[in-house]
Symmetry: C2
Subunit: 329 residues, 2 copies
């Protein structure tokens, strides 16, 4: 059967069956944002993300921004595990017709993102390709298996939180892709959220340091999609309350006056690099204190429930994220 | 300036200048087969290799063989550092028109190679792409910084060795690509060397365990190319003696009777997964004993010299490997 008839989930599921493993592998392919390998008493997390110009780098994105985003996407997967990134590799596929200055600008963008996240940029590979391709790989470290923020760690009754404002990046994407505009100052902030996202390393580390059982993942594929991933992996559901969702003033205004929609409607577009986390209610006060002490925020947006469904207030949410393999275009 | 006017070396050099690093990074981009990060008293080596159907997977290669080779190429870079591979990730770019069974067969080939090299296959990424793309990433472990087999570790007076027969894989490539044939039994052996190469992990580990200063890299890009890499990184030259080069009976016959050439002429085609190593003469006997105790071979093929040139007997060797960016096709 052709991949275009199956969609990403089924492809991944077919590709990750029966993989060779050994006893020091803590987390293997499939479920979490990164694999984890037990090594000398700690967990080495390891993840990779591949991007192609035709799908992932919209027209209008500068090469520095392409590089930044490729690095940040990988580093965010490490942050989502509650680990500290320790090294990044970039493997490039490059059309020979590209200008060196363009490729250097991409590399500079990667390097800037690595510096901003204190993650050394240690190498990679360079090959000829028909299409600009960037495959980033990153390793990180987490002190113990129990500290990892696994998708399957949510339990009904949990408090469900995010680490910051939602929707800014989706608005920024509309500015870049559709030329929509609110006002120069707001546009700049929203564009920046889309083009130069920051991985939530400090929040992830603050949470993993608590010694509590906490579920986490980033919401780059959309809040509801991620909520469903955590719910499915944990065997529970999640109820999100619209009134509790944190939006910036700019995102609210952009949604209402430019997109003529409630800001909650743009959350399925993803692109935010905040974390979605779920923890026991008793752990929430010290988790919030720890994240705030690290300079971040922890905002309760709902709770985990017994029924295996994602709700926005009373309504079931469509949790099917965008699927490039199924998309007709 | 366009990449097609520069070639790979200049591109890589431009992309690896001034990368963000930190004090725990032992080896960064550029010189060696892998980066190395100091962590809890050991070295974590980390490398990535990207392959595209149009350049790297010749017609006639089965999907299992594509997968095997993608994994083995990465694992060989870890072996060349004297490290033990501990986890492998594969990120795929997949045309939606591909059949799932084809992609599963690639994944099976990767998994088989991972099992053969005792390296867990722990995950990766899957994206839509115009061209079949496989980016492998691997981490490995080496007990200490001084144990790493670095390209720059050669010194004039060194013994220069390889870990096994040369040219089998290049003959196998001719069988697959050009339909040339010697006899069924020989063809099978030579094809296998090209399609299912084995990384020299045990030999690499045996050498790194000696506590001696040893240079190493694999010779997948060609023996003379690799000799020049080690020579350049070490600030010396290498003299190789044709009479000392180990060829299998099959490669000798194939070269002479099918290619009408001396077998040394096919070594620039690369594809062998043996290691090229350089060590102090005093360390050679125990190095040979250690590699043989691990089930491998260590064959002296020449010596490192003061003059910064690679010689085959008395002649300077053309050390420019194939450059996909400069190639006119």
């Amino acid at each position: 059967m052709k991949l275009s008839e199956l969609g990403e989930k089924k492809i991944v599921s077919a590709l990750t069956k029966g993989l060779y493993t050994r006893d020091f592998v803590t987390l293997s392919a499939g479920l979490d944002d990164a694999a984890a390998i037990h090594r000398l008493g700690e967990e080495i997390v390891f993840t990779s993300d591949i991007m192609f110009e035709s799908s992932h780098f919209p027209q209008g994105m500068k090469p520095e921004e392409i590089g930044w985003k490729a690095a940040a996407a990988n580093i965010s997967d490490v942050a989502a595990m509650g680990a500290r990134p320790i090294a990044f590799l970039a493997s490039f596929g490059l059309p020979p017709s590209l200008d060196l200055s363009y490729v250097r600008a991409i590399s500079r963008g990667i390097n800037d993102a690595c510096r901003a996240h204190q993650c050394p940029f240690v190498g990679g590979d360079t090959k000829k390709a028909g299409e600009l391709t960037i495959c980033g790989s990153v390793i990180g470290a987490c002190p113990s298996k129990s500290a990892l923020l696994r998708r399957g760690n949510a339990r009904h009754g949990d408090v469900v939180c995010v680490t910051g404002n939602l929707g800014d990046a989706a608005c920024g994407a509309q500015i870049l892709l559709k030329g929509k505009k609110l006002n120069p100052q707001a546009d700049k902030k929203l564009l920046r959220a889309f083009l130069k996202p920051r991985a939530q390393i400090k929040a992830g580390l603050a949470l993993s340091s608590l010694g509590a059982e906490i579920a986490g993942m980033d919401i780059t594929d959309g809040l509801f999609y991620s909520a469903n991933e955590i719910a499915t992996a944990s065997g529970c559901g999640i109820r999100i309350h619209e009134s509790m969702l944190p939006f910036s003033e700019e995102a609210r205004k952009f949604a209402h006056s430019i997109l003529r929609a409630s800001p909650v409607r743009i959350l399925e577009w993803g692109e935010d690099y905040e974390l979605l986390v779920s923890m026991r209610r008793k752990d929430f006060p010290r988790a919030k204190a720890a994240v705030e002490a690290a300079g971040g925020r922890l905002i309760c947006i709902g709770e985990a429930i017994r029924e295996t469904t994602v709700y926005l207030d009373g309504e079931k949410v469509d949790v099917h994220g965008y699927d490039a393999f199924l998309a007709k275009r």
